[in-house]
């Protein structure tokens, strides 16, 4: 698929650390993440160092962390593939857009498509799953527009701001992504635009796919 974009994925470097830690310290960002919200900056930093360190070129890594980079904007976000099962050819995806002003932009959809291409066409996976909070509508909208199926609705599964919220479980099979690409082969950029257009003018909620 020839998507002309200056957004690309790359292995994380040590010098990305400050950028990623900066995102992780932003409450507006961490609202969409699992984990203890009371973690200290030192703990966050240690977690990030551990994550970035694990993206080294192991032959069968259980997790892969990549930086979403852009010639225009610099590092935009992070992509993590967790629980990679080489037997089941499956993983779960977390996609974070760290730069707030880009969260409601085409770049989120481009990053998602890049991630799927990496999963299916480079890693030869069969299935990519993701868990997204129900209130993070713009994120699950991108999944659905790409052909992913909302397979699970986990009621009252995550606590935020004193309330229990539903979590959606999505699954995208390789055949579904290939069908998505084939259907939109000539207008993939328009399609990706449509994945975010509907919400460009809506409420300014963060845009993290997780």
């Amino acid at each position: 698929m020839a998507v002309k974009s200056k957004t690309f994925l790359r292995r994380a470097e040590r010098e990305d650390l400050d950028t990623v830690v900066g995102w992780m310290e932003d409450p507006d960002f961490t609202q969409f993440l699992y984990g203890d919200p009371a973690r200290s900056p030192r703990q966050i930093r240690e977690t990030i160092v551990q994550m970035l360190g694990r993206s080294a070129g192991q032959t069968v890594p259980g997790a892969i962390y990549l930086v979403i980079d852009s010639e225009e904007y610099g590092p935009i976000g992070m992509l993590s593939l967790q629980n990679i099962s080489w037997r089941n050819r499956a993983c779960t995806l977390d996609l974070y857009i760290g730069q707030k002003h880009l969260r409601n932009r085409l770049v989120a959809a481009v990053a998602f498509v890049r991630a799927m291409e990496y999963c299916f066409e480079e890693l030869n996976l069969h299935r990519v799953g993701a868990f997204i909070y129900a209130f993070n509508e713009r994120s699950w909208r991108i999944f659905e527009k790409s052909g992913a199926v909302r397979e699970l609705v986990l009621p009252k599964h995550v606590a935020r701001d004193g309330q229990l919220h539903d979590v959606y479980g999505y699954g995208l099979l390789r055949s579904e992504f290939e069908a998505f690409k084939a259907k939109h082969a000539r207008s993939i950029e328009n399609l990706m635009s449509s994945m975010v257009d509907d919400h460009r003018s809506s409420e300014p909620a963060p845009e993290n796919l997780s």
């Binding site: 037997r87 089941n88 699970l152 606590a159 479980g169």
Partner: protein, 178 residues
């Protein structure tokens, strides 16, 4: 130790390793015995015994379910507590599927429900079943669990893809404790 009318439910011990190993049946994988990546594994007896010997085992809430003759027929467990959202995962596994239709399963389940909803005051129990675990699925649905959907083609074994169904049971759904 819980002395039921038909079952004895007690904390699992290292001596139960053989009985637990018997549940790792490659021809009939159980969802609750898949690892974190949903892969089927077969540990050795020594590995199971080693895990059961660890001190943390006392908090892992794995229980053997014996019949009145003292034979271990299966295991039950609560695991993966989420304190924020107040839920845990329910695990029920028997060497024979037919045990899901017996008082052994009823008493084991009642014990778990009592523990989760009364003692721990959790709000929700969750459970998972492979598409091949029809007895477990039927048992869960007959005991108030609601299906939350199916993760498609998420496990590969026996030359094909298999699905996993997720379930939940809320305290208010009326699963009465023992």
């Amino acid at each position: 130790m819980i002395l039921g009318q038909h079952a004895v439910i007690r904390s699992a011990e290292p001596d139960d390793a053989s009985a637990l190993l018997g549940l790792y049946d490659p021809s009939r994988p159980r969802c609750c015995l898949l690892d974190g990546r949903r892969e089927f594994i077969i540990p050795t007896r020594d590995e199971i015994r080693e895990v059961m010997n660890q001190k943390e085992m006392g908090r892992s809430m794995l229980y053997a379910v014996e019949d009145k003759a003292g034979v271990v027929r299966g295991f039950c467990s609560l695991r993966g507590v989420n304190l924020e959202a107040s839920f845990m995962e329910t695990v029920l596994m028997f060497h024979e599927d037919g045990h899901f239709d017996t008082p052994l399963a009823e008493e084991a389940f009642a014990f778990l429900v009592q523990y989760a909803f009364v003692r721990l005051k959790l709000g929700k129990l969750i459970a998972y079943a492979l598409d091949t675990e029809s007895s477990l699925r039927r048992f869960l649905l007959n005991h108030g669990f609601q299906s939350n959907g199916i993760q498609r083609e998420i496990v590969f074994w026996g030359g094909g893809w298999h699905n996993i169904e997720a379930f939940s049971l809320f305290r208010t759904n009326g699963a009465s404790p023992v």
